[in-house]
Amino acid sequence: MSNSIQHSTAEATRTALLAKVQPAHLKDEPLVANDRDFNWVTDKICCVVETKTPVWWWVSMVVALMTASFTGIGLLWLVSTGVGVWGLANPINWGWAIVNFVFWIGIGHAGTLISAVLCLLKQGWRTSINRAAEAMTIFAVVCAGIFPLFHVGRVWFAWWLFPIPNSNVIWPQFRSPLEWDVFAVSTYGTVSVLFWYMGMIPDLAVLRDRAVQRLKKDAYEGAGALAKGMDYFRKNLYAIFAMGWRNAGNHWRNYEMAYLVLAGLSTPLVLSVHTIVSFDFALAVLPGWHTTIFPPYFVAGAIFSGFGMVLTLMLPLRALYGLHDLITQRHIDNMCKICLGTGSIVGYAYIMEFFIAWYGANPYESYAFINRAFGQYWWAYLMMFSCNVFTPQLFWFKKVRKNAALVWIMSIFINVGMWFERFVITVTSLANDFLPSSWGYYSPTIVDILTFFGTFGLFSVLFLLFLRFLPLMPIAEVKFVMPAADPHGHSKDRQGGTH
């Protein structure tokens, strides 16, 4: 009895309060703007692949290929001469190679986070960026892999990194975090490719069917034989990779299940891969490396840099292909907020490292950090701190987030800052360790520089090919989150719904 009286009193209070405050009826911005219909989405995404190659694409491709050739030259130089052509020398035997490896691997993390974690958390806004972010992940892993692969020197023996029985009767050193890295990164690469490809199957089938239909209509008079030939090519290419997808109900059921399984498998990878990368440092006893904060700090940094790169890629993409209705201000806002969140964790970690160095009362540890900020590499530390700690704080302001050009420039700062973070961690600790008599100073050689800058070209080449030949957004998944998919507003977790 008393219970129901209490209940009704509470209810009455609530009603009275609500009447008094008159809460506003807030509605999320729709994830696809301007009331677009399903057909528009299909056309928009498919036409990127189906229309004539734009001039900017060719220009970018040529520039990217030329830049990528730097990596080719650098690696050829290294293989034909030896690993000594890099600027590595005692005491700094880990220079740009590991810096670039961690830099690229970190960038990949945003793709996995978007495709796996945000999928499990039912974040509808992931749909219009996940495909391109996954592509970015894979290409970043490709670029990252080059560095440790060629750092072994005799690259034709790189297969020794894998536990394959051999006539030398030796195994890799399983106690070394570098070996864990091999497994972490290869697992990561494999799962990312599977995820990316599997998610693409329905869209490849769409591209296949559109080519088949155009061939049936045979309306090529104006366009000529080349266009027809291209459609034959497309039909067969996409038919192979669509693996017989017929859009049937049971196909979709299997697809959804497989997607969920892969999302579940990838979610731990978001955390584990960069944790293991951080073990490369944290398991050594060097002051400045040997800290327990490294795993979470590295993971946050990876997601931070990854979202920086997603913004760097998505904003020009949106402008070039006119995708403003699909990548809306809400998407940019969310990405900026993730940068803000992870960037703040990174900033906190920088400060916490100093606190622990003082609190731990270990003179070597405190020296390592004072040396980091004020020693011979002070300029790198300053670069890192200003780019990574101050830049994202601007994302608190809506005005900043709304200014696409500014967001793009800041995303570049994030990329630069995160590269410097890895440089600072790797080089400062090695250059000034326990023994002052063995202190040194590291500078990269021209081969280091060529190899690294070339990877941006390689990355761009792969990304441009992706844009040209593959659907850059998951068509069906974008449709799920459109207001048109929920015309009566029943679904609360779909994006058209109210709070």
């Binding site: 051999n166 006539s167 030398n168 030796i170 296949r208 088949v212 039909k235 067969n236 038919a239």
Partner: protein, 217 residues
């Protein structure tokens, strides 16, 4: 929508997988058999400039290995004897045998006999003969029954796996020091000897390196 490919295309993936497994197995098996030292090196028996028979000298006449290979227990390199060592006997024994003509020529001219090298470790492997023979590892472990060979051949693979097999379990190969040059010696298969062997390893502080830099310096 009509099918783009005919139905039999569905069988391609399984065929490709089966073919890939078969080809891979064949390649791995072929490589393991034909391209490892067990095959590429074992059995190498070049014709030497002099028809010297170890079976006669070492086996039948029981001349100690160290009579000719004088440095084996003192140096990392086990030397091939100079012509003078041959002549220490053959200036009196069979001094006019036509088979020994190249030896006499070499002695007269001072030009060494161009023996063909059979056992060769790569230049990045540092193998020390003295530490092995002085710690109870017999010649026979790496060179086989040279005392029974009329023409010397490469008897053991001498691959890295071959080295490591012993470096990982030295007590299974170690023998009493007085039996090192006795290629005929048979290891007693008794518990007692096993204990003795473990004792050798312990007492002589035999600690065969298994790290890379143990042999690759």
């Amino acid at each position: 929508m009509a099918n783009v490919f005919p139905k039999w295309v569905n069988t391609i993936p399984i065929k490709v997988i089966v073919a890939a497994i078969l080809i891979k197995t064949a390649v791995i098996a072929g490589f393991t058999y034909y391209f490892t030292p067990k095959y590429t090196r074992v059995g190498y028996a070049p014709t030497q400039p002099v028809a010297f028979s170890h079976a006669l000298h070492s086996g039948q006449l029981e001349i100690d290995c160290r009579y000719c290979h004088t440095n084996v227990d003192r140096s990392e390199h086990s030397n091939v004897p100079a012509t003078e060592v041959c002549m220490s006997c053959h200036s009196m024994v069979r001094k006019d045998d036509p088979l020994l003509a190249p030896v006499r020529d070499s002695y007269a001219s001072g030009e060494p006999i161009p023996w063909v090298r059979i056992h060769k470790t790569p230049d990045y492997v540092y193998f020390n003969h003295a530490v092995h023979v002085n710690r109870g590892i017999s010649c026979v472990e790496c060179h086989g029954r040279v005392d029974q060979m009329k023409v010397v051949h490469h008897d053991k693979p001498l691959s890295m796996g071959f080295c490591l097999e012993c470096h990982r379990n030295p007590e299974e190969y170690i023998r009493p020091p007085e039996e090192v040059y006795n290629l005929d010696w048979e290891r007693p298969e008794t518990e007692e000897f096993k204990e003795t062997a473990v004792g050798f390893v312990h007492d002589w502080k035999v600690n065969p390196p298994q790290s890379c830099s143990g042999c690759h310096r």
